[in-house]
Symmetry: D3
Subunit: 302 residues, 6 copies
Amino acid sequence: MPIIAKNLIKISGEIVATYDKYGGINRIDGSNLPTVSNVVEILDDFMQILLPGYFGERVPARSNMLFFVQRTIDTLFLKCMDEFTRACRFSCKFQDSSEEACEKFAEESALKIAEAIPEIRQMLKMDIRAGYEGDPAAESTEEVILCYPFVYAIATHRIAHEIYKMEIPLIPRIMSEWAHRRTGVDIHPGARIGKRFFIDHATGVVIGETTEIGDDVKVYQGVTLGALSFPKNPDGSIVKGGKRHPTLKDRVTIYAGATILGGETIIGEDSVIGANTWITSSVPPKTLVTFQEQQKYRSLER
Amino acid sequence: MPIIAKNLIKISGEIVATYDKYGGINRIDGSNLPTVSNVVEILDDFMQILLPGYFGERVPARSNMLFFVQRTIDTLFLKCMDEFTRACRFSCKFQDSSEEACEKFAEESALKIAEAIPEIRQMLKMDIRAGYEGDPAAESTEEVILCYPFVYAIATHRIAHEIYKMEIPLIPRIMSEWAHRRTGVDIHPGARIGKRFFIDHATGVVIGETTEIGDDVKVYQGVTLGALSFPKNPDGSIVKGGKRHPTLKDRVTIYAGATILGGETIIGEDSVIGANTWITSSVPPKTLVTFQEQQKYRSLER
Amino acid sequence: MPIIAKNLIKISGEIVATYDKYGGINRIDGSNLPTVSNVVEILDDFMQILLPGYFGERVPARSNMLFFVQRTIDTLFLKCMDEFTRACRFSCKFQDSSEEACEKFAEESALKIAEAIPEIRQMLKMDIRAGYEGDPAAESTEEVILCYPFVYAIATHRIAHEIYKMEIPLIPRIMSEWAHRRTGVDIHPGARIGKRFFIDHATGVVIGETTEIGDDVKVYQGVTLGALSFPKNPDGSIVKGGKRHPTLKDRVTIYAGATILGGETIIGEDSVIGANTWITSSVPPKTLVTFQEQQKYRSLER
Amino acid sequence: MPIIAKNLIKISGEIVATYDKYGGINRIDGSNLPTVSNVVEILDDFMQILLPGYFGERVPARSNMLFFVQRTIDTLFLKCMDEFTRACRFSCKFQDSSEEACEKFAEESALKIAEAIPEIRQMLKMDIRAGYEGDPAAESTEEVILCYPFVYAIATHRIAHEIYKMEIPLIPRIMSEWAHRRTGVDIHPGARIGKRFFIDHATGVVIGETTEIGDDVKVYQGVTLGALSFPKNPDGSIVKGGKRHPTLKDRVTIYAGATILGGETIIGEDSVIGANTWITSSVPPKTLVTFQEQQKYRSLER
Amino acid sequence: MPIIAKNLIKISGEIVATYDKYGGINRIDGSNLPTVSNVVEILDDFMQILLPGYFGERVPARSNMLFFVQRTIDTLFLKCMDEFTRACRFSCKFQDSSEEACEKFAEESALKIAEAIPEIRQMLKMDIRAGYEGDPAAESTEEVILCYPFVYAIATHRIAHEIYKMEIPLIPRIMSEWAHRRTGVDIHPGARIGKRFFIDHATGVVIGETTEIGDDVKVYQGVTLGALSFPKNPDGSIVKGGKRHPTLKDRVTIYAGATILGGETIIGEDSVIGANTWITSSVPPKTLVTFQEQQKYRSLER
Amino acid sequence: MPIIAKNLIKISGEIVATYDKYGGINRIDGSNLPTVSNVVEILDDFMQILLPGYFGERVPARSNMLFFVQRTIDTLFLKCMDEFTRACRFSCKFQDSSEEACEKFAEESALKIAEAIPEIRQMLKMDIRAGYEGDPAAESTEEVILCYPFVYAIATHRIAHEIYKMEIPLIPRIMSEWAHRRTGVDIHPGARIGKRFFIDHATGVVIGETTEIGDDVKVYQGVTLGALSFPKNPDGSIVKGGKRHPTLKDRVTIYAGATILGGETIIGEDSVIGANTWITSSVPPKTLVTFQEQQKYRSLER
């Protein structure tokens, strides 16, 4: 046997040895987790139903939409059931009771997300309209759907948020991370976002888990709605949970590059936050915060 | 029929009902718009001709380049004709005269964009050279073409801008958004960009529709060349059109994270704008604007 | 022959003419460079071995891991040898001695990178752990691997950095640019990064070639570790090489949007740099640099 | 330009010249004929509906069959309409009246073939049963469907024959030729075949256009049901049309390699034709024709 | 709803109704049978190991064959286990005892077939050699492997026969039918075939289940080794099982188109059967049966 | 390590051992032979040029045929050069002189086969016409091209025969075997076939290497033009080479299942050979050989 082959055999043995030594980061003998590609397929099916003709296979104009939707919903339901079940087996509130309770929960959740589609569609239509009205460069809603990445980002969020609310683990985060990769917009599925939301030049945006956003809010590129420094437990580990991200009331506008931090920070109705500002305390309604004035709204430095 | 099936049938009916109720965001019975995947194919063909051997299928060294180019140009021309026609049918200046005028315009435009390739190639070569000379880490122009995302971004822009100038709708924006997704650089196809343009660490850059950029300009990551707040019509809707984005004269350098806003803002020749600054009024030639001095160049807060 | 055909033949001739005129950006008759798709395949193989079950094809739980690893390592080794050889023929320290020396070097390097896998895996496990502990929203290490883009970014970096240290040209940069495209995190393969590194909301991050980072460092979205303005040679060209990017000591934290520049800038142990700050000179250990205090740490404006 | 290239350009010109010279065998400027791949897709859809789970994508056991069938029927109907229209434009009885009459006929025929599916399925079930009962080696109907090529051949025939009866040109022959390629069984779509037909070791079988086959007929490999020599017109060309192939009455068995020729040749009920025989005149009912006795049934040598 | 849609809905309902009515030929609610595509994958893996470099992916010359074989064997073993289990659940001798017994049997069989590979390879090498020596047109064994369909046919048979001997149902027949489709050679997996077997112009050959073939036998196109008419049970159904096909002793040659029938028919050592003959009784050793003399060897007409 | 794994490791070792033991049937360390898939690609390219629009990708009606042909010819030429070179390195008349002579021969041959295309096309057009005129069921030449397998078989033969005449090894046989697999027609590339050749119901046909066929010959399914028994060398091995297959003069017709054998057997002009006959000696011109009369034309039984 040539010397190279011997070396490669030795290396292979060493690598396999690390699979025991550094466990927890290999899935080989372990549980059967949901996979990114399956979850992306589920997202694709949703997009096909939400915006037929724009995403997914081209639906022939002459085709019977009812057939198309029934078949897609059926497939979608089964795929959701499978991935939800995997996610639940990994960790969910019913995990400790019984396998059956877990699967029943997955099935019920899969049905519930299907039932939510008409409402998600209604929300999405309003978001798209807000995009058309909010950007002077947009010439039609068709252009917005075809060319604006925020459409993919907000559609994904509206789906992922519903699944998040059902307390299905992993799936919503895989979805939001996929939209993040595609658009540069990182919305945690836990964020609560009102009607007619629009992100212009959607990129480099971060919206944290416990953010709350009212209706008619408009956000530009590079905006962060994040957490202040995390409180720690006596043992030095970070305290998990709690409201850590800001609240934006109705009709707030946040210009490019602004950073708004902290769970107790509330931006009041109709306020406008200037570009590149850094805000860590609440702003009253109908206030214009310019770059010069931003210091007033910093409760706590770090 | 099992209960689940009945539920799914009911849900399907409700979804189809929303297709009538929330029209305008489904393309099912509607016009035959260009699709993202067709436009991306067109872009791929362009890249193959502009930078043969780096993008697209590997061109055999021994092959007759003439055959390769003729065949690719032929295909490209036909694809452009198809998608341009679709875009024009949706909305173009000839749309109201006649179907024929529309198709003739699409064909003429497809020929014109093919004719523009030699010049686009010349521009691109200068851009790549600027990239090589502008980054101390770059060791060869080959490395720049293979590893620098700005090459894809600027090549796409130079193509999309030509199509934009011909007043073909939708197509240029689908192209620029595709480059945005791939590189994180969002250049509106309307922007006019001079020779030897270079974006270092190309990511998170936004360049608005009416921006004008001179020769030998260099820009870093996170730079925004954007609009100030949009003037509104009496009915509260945003005024569409008009010069809304800044002008950069020859040899200007803009460091990372700087934001330059407004249609009347002009950065003079040879000026340097420091990182993280926020500029809303004009800067004279040969000026160094540091972070500390940025306040001088803010005409109008918001 | 129709008029359109004649035009296209004429255009094709003009394009081919530019291949001679604007040489250097077409690879047609030229050297046989590594290709992006081959290098991405190599990265995929690495990911399969580093995090089996999470990336790449699903490995059946019942499969013999030794077989899987041996076969993958064998393929990986051969692919590395091929692409390393291509890169070395283009430019490497042995290029001028002889073809054979070049190939021998490529083979040795391919073996060395295979040997490095167990250690890379150990590093990666610590990075993932740091991600889990550093983000209150993370509920398991599985979630971190599946949903956090920084895992892909840091894994790619740890591989690319090893290849960079061997002085193989082009390959490491193609790898890092691929991770950049996928995650928005742009780490130059030259950067030296210590243990337990974590980038939260990994996006819009730039880490330059000569950056040095200690252990237990945590960085947020939009952070730049970059160069100050580049010194020029008497002929006006930029001086290549030299330490141009900052040094971060152990346990440093850099909040979102901060920009730290310059090869002599050192951030001391346990220091915290506030969000949106702009730092160009050194910061002592255990210092909190707030947005208000950032001016102290600006040695040199530009 | 290298000499080889010049040669290839010259050759290309000569080939293109033959496209004018030897017209009629290139379809380039010509009519828009049905394509083999589209017709095969139609066949695949039929097979999926006729034998769900055995052919085509695996239908999940839990899926709602109604959704599956509706969607597949819808797609099938649209594809049939397209290809039937193409075939009709090429040549059909309505071709000379008007484009519209042609399309209307295609649509009606597409609906009729969909309507025929339940009956085709019933026929097919009986054929499969006959296969199971007729072969001592068959252990289950599942084995017959999975392993016996005659199932594909007869299913294709039963579909193609229906389309043939509607006088749609080209399509039925493309279908039967496809089945021929896959199975070695060449049944002209014009052949009329009764219930419970079985071909054992289905290969090398030829069944001509005007053949008539009763119920419960069984045929072995290598059997030909063909035409005698073709009568010629005064100008020497072959007379097209007319009954040229034999008739097989109920419960006839034809052993391997037998050849039965002529439009007036009738094999009577319950007769058995021995292997390798060659029959050109009628055989009375309940007759066993051995190899030795075959001479009696040769009316006309050639 | 348009009239066409209503029609299609009605038709769909009728089709679904036939799934209940004509059960037994749809697999929808039924057992989980092996699929043709999985079994073909298994065959492909076998071919890759039996004739590496000729079938399947190209194995790089420099690759370590041990790694390649180990990985392929591992995959092959797992795939066999899965499909064997499915086949056994459908029907096997352990099916009635318990699920576990069934799975254990599948696993043991999968291991046994892997163990048989070296011997199968040895047999195959002799077959290929026989092909080279038996055909004056063959110029090398490489040509035989690349261009002679009998290689695929006999390799498949040698694998399928081993699985048949283990009494795994369905799988061997799916394999042999696949080879039949690809080559026109239909060898039942039950046939026992000696060393150095060669089929020249392999096409249209049928070899029945209980055929026995000695060493150094050579067969031409169109040969049938079949059954005489099948004895029937009192109820008219065919008697299943029993020796129904002929026995060929060592060094027999059968020329093109010959048909040899019956379980008691034995062709003695070194005998030669002429083309197009039809034999139904035994032939002594060292006999030349010409077309004229064939009548002597017909015991029983039908 | 589990017991199964140990077994599989042991088996793998044994298999690899057979690669040494039974060499000559594995290509692993061996020469770089042409592959079936590459040769099939070459065939596909030929078909695209010979019958554009019927085979291969659909040629857009509006496309410039010259571009299409130039590009395809260029690719075809390069692929032929590669595979011819591989075949020549394996064995050709220049193999023993030098590597260079071998490659030059491959290049010249690749050019010659390209030059032969116009003539092959002319031949093919006549064959297709003969098919249309010879079958009363054929309704158009389009139907013949789309639905008659003989078109693929004869087109392949006309190409393969040209390459055979140039004495390129392996390639012509791989081509003819591919056509055999697809159509059931096995024409050795050495056979010399005149103008206007037609095979009706093309299947189960075997035409040997040294067969000569005149103009206007028509053949039916199951016909064999083969060799008598092969003369042997004193050592028992078969004598390779020599005229072993029959000659058919102009306007001969051979009905289904006829077998004509022997290198000295000549079927005279205008003769008709009846179905299922077996002929081993010459037949004078204008003779009708019926099944009864066949004995006259058997010189030598075996």
